[in-house]
């Protein structure tokens, strides 16, 4: 499989076989990501990290991934320090940045911005999130985490919990899990339900889907994927408190779950998972965060053509 020069814009640009290939390369990167082995695989390469919007995990793990492989990083984390402030277009910023680097990682508040950047750049573009659009590297690291924690992706019953309406990252994850024909349970307040098109698409792909409004039945779940319910989705703050409270994961909600059930969360979290859960063996979210490093190492090495 040859990924050299390829853009990573949406998970939908990749087949199931290509996704598994990326996860296998990420698996091999683990000792380097953990700092147990040293690597010079990307020595001499420069990654531009263009973050037009704040990010902790995506930016830091991309930079760590590049540096663990011996590469260098240039870029910015706040657009306030760049020519954008002077009204420069994204197209011009990209054309400038590409002349200084071999690969561009970007996050931008506008949907479709990564697709636009790919049109103007001759170096590969990796999308680190475009507004409410795609976040393919998050999706890949989620799949990597499920496979690492559970042995395989297929055969698990995965519950997606929280705001399933607006978060397109959960839409991409649902699509990716449907590629593996995983059984899924969508749990959300009625006003934040998974959009019909996503449900239909997953069903057409052969996934078994159940829709719920409450946390009942968690005892049948293998992977519980929690997302944040955002305050701004509710006009009434009291209503928000009530809804958010009824989907909160604490020790009591975990009383009857399977021994090896894992809880994932893309982070940052607010109140949706009680900190006491962190101490249980179910909590996989910090391991999930770490997994961003080997997955992003794999992508960088693949698109730069140093791993084939």
């Amino acid at each position: 499989m040859n990924f050299k020069g390829r853009d990573v814009i949406s998970i939908k640009d990749f087949s199931k076989e290509e996704i598994l290939y990326i996860l296998n390369v990420a698996e091999k990167m683990l000792p380097i990501a953990e700092g147990k082995e040293k690597s010079n695989l990307l020595n001499g390469y420069i990654m531009a990290s263009l973050f037009f919007e704040p990010s902790t995990r995506t930016r830091l793990s991309f930079e760590a991934a590049m540096k663990r492989l011996g590469g260098s990083v240039i870029g910015f984390a706040q657009p306030g320090t760049t020519s954008l402030q002077k009204g420069e277009t994204l197209a011009d910023t990209i054309k400038t940045a590409e002349s200084y680097c071999d690969v561009i990682v970007m996050r931008h508040p506008k949907e479709g911005s990564a697709r636009l950047a790919a049109k103007f750049a001759s170096v590969p573009i990796i999308n680190g999130g475009d507004g409410a659009g795609h976040h393919p590297t998050q999706c890949l690291l989620d799949l990597f985490t499920i496979r690492k924690e559970k042995g395989q992706i297929e055969g698990n019953r995965v519950a997606l919990l929280g705001d399933l309406k607006y978060g397109r990252t959960v839409h991409s994850l649902a699509y990716a899990l449907a590629l593996f024909k995983v059984d899924m349970v969508f749990i959300s307040p009625p006003e934040l339900q998974m959009p019909k098109e996503v449900i239909e698409e997953c069903r057409e792909m052969g996934a078994n889907i159940t829709i719920k409004n409450s946390l009942e039945g968690l005892d049948e779940i293998d992977v519980l994927y929690v997302t944040r319910i955002q305050k701004e989705r509710f006009p009434d703050p009291e209503e928000y408190k009530k809804v958010a409270g009824s989907y909160r994961i604490d020790l009591k909600t975990l009383e009857n779950v399977k021994e090896d059930m894992i809880i994932m969360h893309p982070l940052p979290r607010v109140d949706e998972i009680s900190p006491e859960v962190d101490e249980t063996k179910h909590a996989a979210y910090f391991r999930q965060t770490f997994n961003g490093v080997p997955v992003r190492m794999a992508l960088l090495a693949l698109v730069l053509g140093e791993v084939k």
């Binding site: 277009t89 994204l90 197209a91 931008h108 508040p109 506008k110 949907e111 479709g112 911005s113 697709r115 636009l116 049109k119 475009d130 507004g131 409410a132 659009g133």
Partner: protein, 151 residues
């Protein structure tokens, strides 16, 4: 004596069966007034035909190619293109919705990158022709009321 409201042309293209009142939009989409500054273009609006009122556009001395005219399919899906040589219709065909619609429809998503001042034209992928479904190449939004989004 029968008087013709719209005179026949000797050579060129006649776009017939445009929905009434849309002839100027058709010209705008085709960009013909800029690209053919020397062509004589006649427009007839609200012409009563067999199937009710319609607009007609006649462009002299220029045979429009299919891909040039198909762009108007969004606002004039039943339009016919007649190529005229020496007063005779030598070719007649219907417009067809192209695979991609570039620079004609505005994305309804205010947060789409195509609605900023980037140096790009809007671009939509045609997902289905009957019924017409299009998807923004950039943000992947699928607009419903397409005719209201024509630039």
């Amino acid at each position: 004596m029968k008087e013709l409201k719209v005179q026949p042309i000797k050579d060129g293209t006649v776009i017939d069966h445009i929905p009434p009142g849309n002839a100027f939009k058709v010209l705008k989409i085709l960009g013909i007034t800029e690209s053919l500054p020397d062509s004589v273009i006649s427009i007839a609006i609200n012409v009563v035909g067999k199937r009710g009122k319609k607009d007609i556009v006649k462009i002299e001395n220029r045979e429009l190619k299919a891909e040039e005219v198909d762009k108007i399919a969004l606002i004039a899906p039943n339009a016919t293109i007649n190529i005229i040589r020496n007063y005779e219709v030598v070719e007649k065909r219907r417009v067809e919705v192209p695979d991609e619609i570039v620079g004609i429809v505005k994305c309804p998503n205010p947060n789409c990158i195509s609605n900023t001042r980037e140096p790009i034209k809007t671009r939509f992928i045609v997902k289905s022709r009957e019924p017409l479904k299009i998807k923004c190449y950039y943000c992947e939004r699928e607009p419903e009321d397409i005719s209201s989004l024509i630039i």
